[in-house]
């Protein structure tokens, strides 16, 4: 089945130790998103890629970076994780610009739960 895959599902890191979360998709969608979700809160958009174009949300800390080496993969890099960065990180995709289909619908991965010690 076409889907959005996130690895790892659980990640434990130490305060200040860089960590990378990965997302891959077999849907061939042109837009990929990274969200941060803390307990009892709405998903908060960190950034997204429209094809190769990177779009950062204004309030996303510089500590968070992203890479999209090709259509299928997208990475979230946290350069120096702090205790406040512990959260669930969601990757999502959508197809934008095509006629019909699931325009604007997002497809989510299962998430990576990050713990910072």
């Amino acid at each position: 089945d076409a889907m959005v895959i996130q690895n790892p599902r659980y990640q434990v890191t130490q305060f200040g130790k860089p960590v990378t979360l990965s997302c891959s998709q077999t849907l061939n969608h042109n837009v990929m998103y990274w969200y941060q979700q803390k307990s009892s809160q709405a998903p908060k958009l960190l950034f997204h890629y429209y094809d190769k174009d990177f779009n950062n949300e204004a309030d996303t800390p510089d500590n968070f970076q992203s890479r999209r080496p090709n259509t299928s993969f997208c990475f979230l890099d946290i350069r120096s994780p702090g205790l406040g960065d512990a959260a669930m990180y969601l990757c999502a995709t959508s197809r934008v610009g095509s006629a019909g289909g699931s325009h604007n619908e997002q497809f989510f991965g299962p998430g990576t739960r990050l713990t910072v010690l």
């Binding site: 959005v4 709405a42 429209y50 604007n104 497809f107």
Partner: protein, 110 residues
């Protein structure tokens, strides 16, 4: 800027009872509205969207532009409906950046 409000953090009902999860939005144009659902230990997934005007798993939602609402309704709740529900808004013009509400946890008791 657009905003989505889900006033209830938690909604608890008994099986067979009607359920209504509220969603209000603020946006000056014509938005596209969605309901996403997250069952326990599963990924967030689309439940329904207003332009489809369909019923999914017995749920319906009508966009009320006058009241700027998009409430999710089901006449008879089932235990398997227990989940987290998120209302989301995408601005008109094909914008692909949705705004999510904080979510409502629905618990259906046997």
């Amino acid at each position: 800027a657009q905003r989505v409000t889900q006033p209830e953090k938690l909604l608890s009902v008994f099986k067979g009872a009607p359920v209504e999860l509220k969603c209000n939005y603020s946006y000056s144009g014509s938005p596209e509205l969605f309901w996403y659902v997250q069952y326990s230990r599963q990924r967030l997934q689309l439940l329904l969207r207003h332009i489809s005007r369909e019923s999914i798993k017995g749920f319906t939602a009508d966009l009320n532009k006058g009241e700027t609402s998009f409430h999710l309704k089901k006449p008879f709740a089932q235990e398997e409906d227990s989940a987290m529900y998120y209302c989301a808004l995408s601005p008109e013009g094909g914008s692909y950046i949705p705004t999510f509400g904080r979510g409502t946890s629905l618990i259906v008791h046997p």
